[in-house]
C-alpha cells in the first residue's frame, strides 16, 4: 500500500517536472531570441531593402516560396491522403504508397536540397531560383501532408459516411460535404505545421534558391534567386564579412519566430471558429 502511494507520488512529480521543463525551455528560448532581436526590429529593418541593411526582400521571399511550395504540395499531399483514407483498399499498392510516404518523410532535408541542386539548378539549368526552391521544399512537405490528411480524415466517424451514403449520395459528395468539413481543423493544423517547417527551412533552400536577393524589391519573377529569412540567418552567421552580423542575425531570428507565430494564428484561429460553429455550443 505504502509503496504504491510512493510510486504514485514519484510518477506525479516526474511527469509534472517534464511538463514544466518543456514549457520553461520554450519560454527561455522565446525570451532570449526576442530579447536580443527586439532592439534591432524596426520598420526599416523588417521591410527595408538590403541596401539599407533591412531584410525586406528576405521576408518577402520567405512568404513567396512558402506560398508556391504549398501550391505544389497541398493538392498532391491532400489528394493522396484522401485516396489513402477513403478509396484505397488494403492491397500491395496501398502499402507501397504508404511505405513510400514514410521513406520520403525520413529523407534528411540536406539530401533533398542536393537533389534539388542536381535537378533544378544543373539538369534543368535554371540556376538558383525561387521556383526550384519551392519545388524542393514541396518534397519536404509532401509526406507530412499525406500523413496528416489521412489521419484527420480517419477521425471522422464511419457513421457519418454511412449516414450520407444511405441518403443516396455518391462517395465524392460524402467526402466533400461531410468528411472534409468535419476534418477541416486537422487539415489546417497539418498545413500550419508544414508551413512552420517551410518558413524555418534553410538546408534545402541554400542549394536551390540561393543566398542572394534580386535587385528589385518586391520581385515576383519566380526564375530569380531568392534568399529567405532562415537562409539569411545562416548566411550572416557563416560569412565573416557581413557588417553588423550580430544585430542582423538577432533581428532575423526574432522576426522568424514572430512570422511563424503570426502564421499559426492567422490560419488557426479562423479554422477553430469554423469548427466551433459546426460542433455547436448548445
Amino acid at each position: 500500500m505504502n509503496s504504491n502511494r510512493l510510486s504514485n507520488t514519484v510518477a506525479t512529480v516526474i511527469l509534472w517536472a517534464s511538463g514544466f521543463f518543456i514549457v520553461g525551455l520554450l519560454v527561455f528560448f522565446l525570451a532570449y531570441i526576442l530579447g536580443q532581436g527586439f532592439k534591432v526590429l524596426s520598420l526599416d529593418f523588417v521591410f527595408g531593402p538590403a541596401s539599407q541593411g533591412g531584410v525586406g526582400p528576405q521576408l518577402f521571399n520567405t512568404f513567396y516560396i512558402l506560398v508556391l511550395s504549398l501550391l505544389y504540395s497541398v493538392p498532391i499531399g491532400v489528394g493522396a491522403g484522401i485516396y489513402l483514407a477513403e478509396y484505397a483498399k488494403p492491397s500491395r499498392l496501398t502499402n507501397l504508397v504508404r511505405l513510400s510516404t514514410e521513406c520520403l518523410a525520413t529523407v534528411p532535408s540536406i539530401v533533398l536540397g542536393l537533389f534539388g541542386l542536381i535537378i533544378f539548378v544543373n539538369v534543368l539549368g535554371l540556376g538558383f531560383t525561387i521556383l526550384g526552391g519551392a519545388a524542393a521544399l514541396a518534397l519536404l512537405n509532401l509526406p507530412v501532408l499525406v500523413r496528416v490528411t489521412e489521419e484527420a480524415l480517419r477521425t471522422v466517424p464511419h457513421a457519418h459516411r454511412e449516414g450520407s451514403l444511405a441518403l443516396g449520395s455518391t462517395q465524392w459528395q460524402t467526402i466533400r460535404r461531410v468528411v472534409l468539413p468535419s476534418s477541416i481543423l486537422g487539415l489546417i493544423t497539418g498545413i500550419t505545421l508544414v508551413s512552420g517547417r517551410a518558413i524555418g527551412e534553410a538546408a534545402i533552400l541554400v542549394f536551390t534558391a540561393g543566398t542572394s536577393v534580386s535587385r528589385h524589391y518586391p520581385d515576383f519573377n519566380p526564375l530569380v534567386a531568392g534568399e529567405t529569412l532562415a537562409v539569411h540567418l545562416w548566411y550572416v552567421r557563416g560569412e565573416p564579412l557581413v557588417a553588423n552580423a550580430d544585430a542582423v542575425a538577432a533581428g532575423s531570428a526574432a522576426l522568424l519566430v514572430l512570422v511563424v507565430l503570426f502564421f499559426n494564428l492567422a490560419i488557426g484561429l479562423p479554422a477553430r471558429i469554423y469548427q466551433r460553429r459546426l460542433r455547436g455550443s448548445n
Binding site: 449516414g163 468539413p181 459546426l278
Partner: protein
C-alpha cells in the same frame, strides 16, 4: 386479409457470406408495401445484416458475398443496370446510433435534397419544414434551425435523422434498432411516429425489443443463427408461433 396488399420487396433464396462464414442462409420473404415489418432475434442472428442487404449497405464492407435475388418492385437490386446511389435514394436507412452530421439542423435536413440537385432556397425551406413536421420535431427545433444539430438530445437527434431521410422522399425506410440508444419517452415518440409514417412509406425495422415489435409492426420475422425461423403476421407470431424456437425466444427462454 385486405386485397390491396402489394409486395415491395421479394427476397428469394438469399445467402450471405462474410469471408468464409455464412451469415444468412436461404432467406425468402416478402415485404409488403405500406406496412411495418419487424425483424427480431438475438444478437448476431443476422437481422441487421439482412436489413443492410435491402439498400446494399453491405457493399461497403470488405469480404461480403451475396447470392440469391432481392426484387424491389420486380427489379433485382443486384442487377447489372442498378445504380446503387439511386437505390439508396429509394431505400433509405436510419441507424442504431443517431448520426446527425456536424452542421446545423437545417443543413442536416437539406443535405439530401441538396446533393440531389435542389438549389431553390424557398423550396428547400419548405422541404425542411415539412420533413421536420413529419418527424414530429418541428415544434422543438423551429427556433434553433441554424444551430448545430449536435446540441440536440439523443431522441431529438434520432428524429432529426428520420427527418433527414424523409427529405429525400424514399419509398422504403429501413431502421436498425432506432430506439436502442434512447430513453423510454423518446422511444415512445419514435414509435408513434412510425405508425404515422406507415401511411406513406414501407418500413422495415430491426429491434431487439420484442414488445416494440409487437406494438408497432404488422408482420414479424424471427431470425436465429442466420436462418429465418418464422415469418408471419405479428399477432399470429406472438400468440400462436408455429416453431418451438420462436416460442422459446418470445417467452424469454433464451436471447
Amino acid at each position: 386479409m385486405e386485397v390491396n396488399v402489394e409486395n415491395k420487396f421479394v427476397v428469394q433464396n438469399l445467402n450471405l457470406f462474410y469471408k468464409d462464414v455464412q451469415a444468412l442462409r436461404s432467406i425468402s420473404m416478402e415485404i409488403m408495401k405500406q406496412q411495418i415489418t419487424a425483424l427480431i432475434g438475438p444478437s448476431g442472428c443476422g437481422k441487421t445484416t439482412f436489413l443492410r442487404v435491402l439498400n446494399r449497405m453491405n457493399d461497403l464492407i470488405e469480404g461480403v458475398r451475396i447470392d440469391g435475388t432481392v426484387l424491389l418492385d420486380d427489379q433485382d437490386i443486384f442487377g447489372p443496370d442498378v445504380d446503387v446511389v439511386n437505390l439508396r435514394k429509394r431505400v433509405g436507412m436510419v441507424f442504431q446510433r443517431p448520426n446527425p452530421f456536424p452542421m446545423s439542423v437545417y443543413d442536416n435536413v437539406a443535405y439530401g435534397p441538396r446533393i440531389h440537385g435542389q438549389k431553390n432556397k424557398s423550396q428547400l425551406d419548405q422541404i425542411v419544414e415539412k420533413s421536420l413536421r413529419s418527424a414530429a420535431l418541428w415544434d422543438e427545433v423551429s427556433n434553433r434551425l441554424f444551430k448545430s444539430a449536435l446540441g440536440l438530445s439523443g431522441g431529438q437527434q434520432q428524429r432529426l435523422c428520420i427527418a433527414r431521410l424523409l427529405a429525400v422522399e424514399p419509398e422504403v425506410v429501413l431502421m436498425d434498432e432506432p430506439t436502442s440508444a434512447l430513453d423510454p419517452l423518446s422511444t415512445l415518440k419514435i414509435e408513434e411516429l412510425l405508425r404515422d409514417l406507415k401511411n406513406h412509406y414501407t418500413i422495415v425495422i430491426v429491434t431487439h425489443n420484442m414488445q416494440q415489435a409487437a406494438r408497432v409492426s404488422d408482420s414479424t420475422a424471427f431470425f436465429l443463427n442466420g436462418d429465418m425461423v418464422e415469418f408471419g403476421p405479428t399477432e399470429t407470431l406472438f400468440t400462436r408461433p408455429k416453431d418451438q424456437r420462436t416460442e422459446d425466444y418470445i417467452t424469454g427462454r433464451f436471447g
